[in-house]
């Protein structure tokens, strides 16, 4: 069972209120030292068998068409996961 990992982050210039709220909460908990927190999204797309170039190409299309909105988000990476996990 292969797995493709898609990583999406809000664009640096876009305000990230969720990340901001998390950052404030961390500070309140005494977990200080972080100058900023930004929250993104991670998608795992599983495939039967190994991750092929074709599957990666389809995943890249999924990443730009549905998984991210190019106005506010960047697709940081689309890659085959290096570990082998069973897909439960």
């Amino acid at each position: 069972m292969g797995r493709i990992v898609v990583e999406v982050m809000p664009k640096p210039e876009i305000l990230d209120p969720q990340g901001k709220a998390i950052g404030t909460s961390l500070e309140r908990m005494g977990l200080t030292g972080f100058s900023a927190v930004r929250q993104g999204k991670l998608f795992h797309l599983s495939v039967d068998g190994d991750v092929t170039e074709e599957a990666l190409a389809t995943a890249r299309e999924a990443a730009t068409s549905l998984l991210s909105n190019p106005v506010i988000e960047d697709v940081v990476s689309v890659r085959a996961a290096d570990d082998q996990v069973d897909d439960r």
Binding site: L15, P17, N69
Partner: protein, 259 residues
Amino acid sequence: MSARVAMDTATPLVGGTGETGTIPGAQELTIGVVQFPGSLDERDAMRAVTLSGAQAVALWHGSESLFGVDAVILPGGFSYGDYLRCGAIARFAPLMTAVVDAAKGGMPVLGICNGFQVLCESHLLPGALIRNDHQKFVCRDQDLVIENAETAWTRDFAAGQTITIPLKNGEGGFVADTPTLDRLEGEGRVIARYHELNPNGSQRDIAGITNEAGNVVGLMPHPEHAVEAGFGTDSALGMRAGVDGQPFFTSVLTSLLQK
């Protein structure tokens, strides 16, 4: 003693239809209101259409046909539970292909709140809507200034007019890159701006925008909640007496009848 009164849901419960519902020929027009899983305000939108004098048609997201309606409203709510991004999944609903085609062909389309988010995700309108900058859901009667009174959905207003309609959103912050914002303002495509208070951090106080042709309009606040005396915003006339949302629904009828 109480008398049971048969009530047609199409007739007003309080007050009269007032100045709406009197446009000659309006009763021949059909306005479709799309229902996605998680839509919330489709009934109010349909009632607003009915009160304006046209026929409201419920459209199902899974359908591929618009059934010949003259215009479409994408209502507010939380389509697909706002999963992934607001409007992102609804944008790929089967019916949206027909809506996008019709919109590009000139059919009037109004997206309210979540509908606005769907229009942005569909690329019928530029920009995107992100979480409110203050991180809280906001629900209030909101003052707006109508900036463009020439679109299919705003022509019954006067440019510069201040109106009050309800606003309720968690992700209503309108964002776009600077060139896009400049272009929207330069082309008069900002149809309404927040007045005195920006409730969600929208760039340049933008509450609503239109496409180049003026037939597609996206609006974050809810005009369909201010169309009927007794159920509208608080106004000088009395509690919940404000019906400033009505002209959005009559404007489209005026536009369609003048074609």
